[in-house]
């Protein structure tokens, strides 16, 4: 989906060692030693190792992992709040680890805005002054920065709160200020470090939706850290899954769910409500047969018989969806001597885009049991979803972790002998 977009940040072979002998630790790693062995031998902690990924222009990339997986370290390496031990982080041709002090300041100002888990608002500054911080540091003149800050506050729904202090706001509102501060800065990349993790679930859901809306409007390149898979799947264009300082899998939410790279990922995705994440596209089957709008009812009937179908979709020359004709209607039309299928077609079917969440499709089957047409933006027929396929897909997704677990349960079953 985003493969042909421009790369905004290229991260290659990034590693981070916590300790005073990073070289030695990296050497041991290259000899094939694991994290815990390196810690035992040298007292150095290998925080990140061999991290490779790209952040594409305008995408929302989620880096997810459990605590201790290195995700916070990784996001802080990007703007060098933490110094990486080796590797490249290239943004617009600049290799961040090589920048001098001044160039680094300049790079942070131009490229990075950051939103923090515990908001990190300045308690001695008003909401307005907090929002202005990035601009103030850059030396933008007062009138301009006040205008921009007010605009950003409006964008996050906080107009009227300019003169309040952070401790007068609820958690959700405080994080909106955090977001406004980042937006006002207008840097090219937005870094969000567990930005919604400290909020209660309802507010968190709202904030996720708002972020997605903002993202739709602005297409800002965003790197979002979270430990919550549901959150990652909801908001991420792509997900980088981290474990013990290494990347386990990179992919779209759907790829992570349908093609987990290993047992770890499989166990991870256990328990996710998959119908919310899976889309029409994942349950879609290729259309076995269609008829052209210029065809007659006889052709339609023959095709339905050949493929044992009760109904068949009608398209024009460019595969644009025109309608649906049922077997019964087709034979009636034949008797009445109608020449075109279009004369006997119906519009009583449902059509959806490929990204329609699967759970929305359930309700659609309630009205009638025609296969649901999946069409692209130009209403070109991509495929169909039949009722059974939706259930199939969900059942499969639900079963996957069970399959992964089953060998274990066999092993732990009582053996029955000495």
């Amino acid at each position: 989906m985003s493969d042909n977009r421009n790369v905004k940040i290229r991260v290659r072979n990034l590693s981070k060692v916590f300790g005073n002998q990073p070289k030695k630790a990296l050497e041991l790693r290259d000899q094939g030693l694991g994290r815990s062995e390196i810690l035992d031998k040298t007292g150095q902690t290998l925080g990140l190792s061999h991290i490779d990924f790209d952040v594409h222009e305008g995408e929302l990339l989620v880096i997810m992992g459990l605590s201790g997986s290195g995700k916070s370290t990784l996001i802080r390496c990007l703007n060098r709040l933490i110094e990486p031990s080796e590797g490249e982080i290239v943004i617009d041709g600049e290799n961040i680890p090589e920048l001098g002090e001044k160039a680094l300041l300049e790079c942070r100002r131009r490229h990075f805005s950051m939103v923090f888990q515990n908001f990190a608002l300045f308690p001695h500054r008003t909401v307005q002054q907090n929002t202005e911080f990035g601009l103030e540091v850059r030396g933008i003149d007062k009138e301009e920065r006040q205008r921009v800050a007010r605009e950003a506050l409006k964008q996050v729904g906080l107009d009227g709160w300019e003169d309040a202090y952070p401790n007068q706001l609820s958690g959700g509102m405080q994080q909106r200020v955090g977001l406004a501060r980042a937006l006002a800065n207008d840097a090219s990349v937005l870094l969000m470090d567990e930005a919604f993790s400290a909020l209660d679930p309802l507010i968190r859901g709202d904030m996720q939706q708002e972020l997605l809306q903002l993202q739709n409007q602005m297409q800002k390149t965003t790197v979002f850290i979270t430990h919550d898979l549901d959150e990652a799947l909801t908001i991420g264009d792509r997900i980088v899954l981290l474990k013990d300082g290494e990347i386990v899998q990179i992919g779209t939410p759907e790829e992570i769910l349908t093609k987990p790279a290993d047992d770890y990922v499989r166990r991870f995705i256990e328990g996710v409500d998959k119908s919310r994440i899976l889309t029409a596209e994942s349950a879609m089957r290729k259309v076995r047969a269609t008829v052209r709008d210029s065809d007659g009812p006889r052709t339609a009937l023959r095709k339905m018989r050949d493929h044992s179908l009760d109904s068949i979709y009608i398209t024009d020359r460019d595969r644009h969806l025109v309608g649906l004709i049922e077997a019964e209607a087709a034979s009636q039309a034949l008797e009445q001597g109608k020449e075109k299928v279009t004369q006997a077609m119906t519009q009583e079917f449902r059509s959806v885009g490929p990204n329609e969440p699967l759970h929305n499709l359930f309700a659609m089957f309630h009205d009638n049991s025609f296969p649901i047409a999946v069409v692209d933006d130009d209403r070109r027929l991509l495929g169909v979803v039949v009722k059974g396929a939706v259930l199939d897909e969900l059942a499969q997704a639900a079963e996957t972790p069970e399959l992964a677990k089953s060998p274990e349960s066999v092993e732990t079953a009582p053996a029955g002998d000495e």
Binding site: L81, R108, M114, L121, F122, F133, G134, V137
Partner: protein, 279 residues
């Protein structure tokens, strides 16, 4: 039989060092002496020029504005008592010494405190010195003050500054180090320079703690200024000193009570300053 060990001539070394300092830097010490003396006389005369009731009204107003009516009433009552006991002039002299010593101590302490907060090496170097300054019996500072500045108020200021400076340094350092890491990260993430970080984030956030340090400094300065009567500083301390020499407990307690009133007044006033900043 005791084993004869050669005595370490620590005292001699210190004396030698002090003598050397006195003779080498007499020009500087005399300069400092003159400036300080001018400051003391000026402030003292200004405060004495005001009629008692006027100063009383100003202080009461200050208490009311910064703290509350209760403190204002207490201040008026206390100061009236001092006036009534005929200790107004020594009280003003003591206040002058406290104000000037605190001013000098704070002006020197805050930059040192900031530097120690930002540099781990300086921090480790300076902490034992502060321990030394605070635990050394206060009287001892009076002795080298005399060869430097002679008998009188300037020596008192010198000893008081040294004795009262440590808390201001400590609290400034503490205040800056207490600023949450996340806020420092936020400032860094948005590309703040060190200077911007200090002025826009670290200093404002450490202000309540710094104020607590200044409060401590004032209290220590007051106690030292009283003791400094032994080397000829004017004020309430010299009233106490005279009462000791003449064995007049009544006079001694009167002056002592005046010190307590002044101490409470200064303490509450600076504390309310800190609280009003915080809110």
């Amino acid at each position: 039989m005791a084993i004869e060990l050669p005595r370490v001539p620590l005292g001699q070394w210190i004396e030698g060092g002090l003598n050397w300092l006195t003779s080498e830097y007499s020009l500087i010490t005399r300069g400092i002496s003159r400036v300080t003396q001018t400051g003391i006389t000026g402030l003292n005369e200004a405060l004495m020029w005001l009629p008692e009731w006027a100063l009383l009204a100003i202080i009461a107003g200050l208490c009311w504005k910064l703290a509350n009516l209760r403190l204002a009433i207490g201040a008026v009552a206390g100061l009236l008592l001092i006036w009534n006991m005929g200790l107004w002039e020594p009280m003003i002299e003591t206040l002058t010494l406290v104000v000037i010593a605190t001013l000098v101590a704070v002006v020197m302490a805050i930059p040192v405190g900031i530097a120690a907060a930002l540099s781990e090496r300086l921090y480790r170097g300076i902490m034992p010195i502060l321990d030394f300054m605070q635990t050394m019996p206060a009287f001892v500072y009076l002795i080298p003050a005399i060869p430097f500045f002679g008998i009188g108020s300037v020596s008192a200021i010198f000893a008081t500054v040294i004795f009262s400076m440590p808390p201001a340094i400590r609290f400034t350092t503490l205040g800056i180090r207490q600023v949450p890491v996340e806020l420092i990260e936020a400032a860094d993430a948005y590309g703040a320079t060190r200077r911007q970080k200090l002025i826009k984030v670290q200093l404002p956030l450490s202000l309540p703690t710094v104020m607590a340090g200044i409060n401590q400094t004032i209290m220590l300065a007051l106690s030292m200024v009283v003791i400094a009567a032994m080397i000829g500083a004017d004020g309430l301390g010299s009233e106490v000193w005279r009462a000791i020499q003449r064995l007049r407990p009544g006079d001694g307690f009167e002056a002592g009570i005046a010190v307590v009133i002044l101490a409470m007044l200064l303490d509450r006033l600076t504390q309310s300053l800190r609280k009003s900043r915080k809110a």
